[in-house]
Amino acid sequence: MPAVLEVRDLAKHYARVRAVDGISFEVAEGSCFGLLGPNGAGKSTTIEMMEGLLRPTAGQVLFRGAPLGSHYRERVGIQFQTTALQQFLTVRENLAFFSALYPKRRPLDELVALCRLEEFLDRDAGKLSGGQRQRLLLAIALVNDPEVLFLDEPTTGLDPQARRNFWDLVRDIRAQGRTIVMTTHYMEEAYVLCDEIVIVDHGKTIARGSPRALLAEHYDDSVLELPAAEAAKLGGSIPLKDKGDTVEIHTPDVNDAIARLLAAGASLASLRIRPRTLEDLFLELTGRELRT
């Protein structure tokens, strides 16, 4: 598929920090693209340059092969992680206001149906729940029927139900052929929604590909988790990774590992077997130290 966005050697330098330091990638038309990274890795700076809100120090972002022009904002939609709206305006009034700012507008009833706003359309936007509010912000990002939709940590702070509900909306939007560029701290979200991800750290790209391809590239094993007390019975016969109260066994042959656990007399009552996840890969690539 052709690239709708091309990021070429993009850099943003501040007085003492190289927030983004020469990042390059493409976003395919109609795909869902994930930009991942720990706090301070440079992903927000990168996405803001892609949104046309921040001027790069070097490099460029191309939209359909051309530099971002004066009409770029009319063709993209942005949902920020935190956005305040004007007070005392209803959901309908907020949609009408943002709609009026664009030359091309999606019909209000389509937006309402797509983002499931019917129940609270005439409610004060300041009195919405977290999930309702995110749906409204998504609808606002879609008022101009954008070709590219940017979602910056769209489900942060939502409960599991609201998050999954939001995923369904993103899938619906993608099914309509829209290109989506998103950032998230939830690896499960990236795995479920994204066709391709880029992991950035210290302003540089450290991994790129589809979530499944990246996992297949880095791992050929599964993870067995069991309580540390049971692991003590193994007496060093199997390599273990200490995780505090639990230990992990990384093995390409789960059956063999279980047989050895049974032979050592370990109880399997609390055993958990799971495949490798994007979170494993993320932590392995970016390290476990706390970022601020």
């Binding site: 920020f80 007070q87 005392f88 206001f97 009026a100 030359p103």
Partner: protein, 342 residues
Amino acid sequence: MSGFWRRLRAATWARSLEFLRDRSSLGWNLVFPVLLVFGLAYVFSGPGQPMFKVAVLAPPQAALDATLHPFLATPQVQFYREGAHEEALHKVQLQRIDMLLDFTAAAPRYWVNERSPKGKLLEQLLRGAGPPLLAREQTSGAEVRYVDWVAPGVLGMNMMFSCLFGIGYVIVRYRKSGYLKRLNATPLRAFEFLLSQLLSRLLLILAVNIAVFAACRWLLHLRMEGSYATLLLLTALGAFSMIAMGLVVSARIASEELAGGILNVLSTPMMVICGVFFSMDGAPRALRIAADFLPLTHLLSGARAIMLDGAGIAQIGYHLAALAAMSAVYLSLGAALFKWRS
């Protein structure tokens, strides 16, 4: 409708709805100035105002003290230098001052208003002060009640606070909360946004102040000698310039505390030196020059000229021109300095 007008109308309407639905703020904007005018009318309508005010026309080199005339050493009387005879005499006629002394003529003279009790009292003091005797001239004119004089000041002051804080705080709040960042992601241009905020505030301030003025005029029988249309024009221009001043303050700041401090730095001197509660006649020259650079001075001087003296557009042309110039400067500066994000 072109994109500019569509965006401007949408942003102006959204901001106006936000203001109108904030009932507590709207109520306060309506009630506070009426209460203040009533309060001041009550406080200053009774006896016990010790100060007499006397204008003096004298050669520039002459000091305003007993060497010019022993009467000028009288305590509890404020003597101040006036430049123009006509202007000073007009103030005597309106009883805004109690007496006019003229030492520029070959034979020194004084003017009192025959209908002013304070003028008559001062006349007794003048006669008792000793030679040289001054020739008596008489004029007349109904007294301008203090409430007639102070009402434009109070309404103007309220308008100033509403303009400065109303626009300044709101934009700073928008910036702090990330709302401006959200708007920046749309095709709305900075100038369109600023103009929408300005127009919304201007229309609402005019509506509120027309209502408050009508209430004060009806309840206090405020004097109104001039044209309502001229007063509306002056008020609109005055409000425009002060809102534009608020735009300059809020152009980049993201802290409400800092914005509040700067707005106080601007509003407090305006309240003191622009003649809100007391006439600046007789104030030090430097203060009067400083006041001339503040929009509230021109709004109040113009409004009083219209309401008390029946001045027309030509007579307040200087004030209108000053306000227009200040509006242009502040708006250009605000637009040039404006940033969506801190």
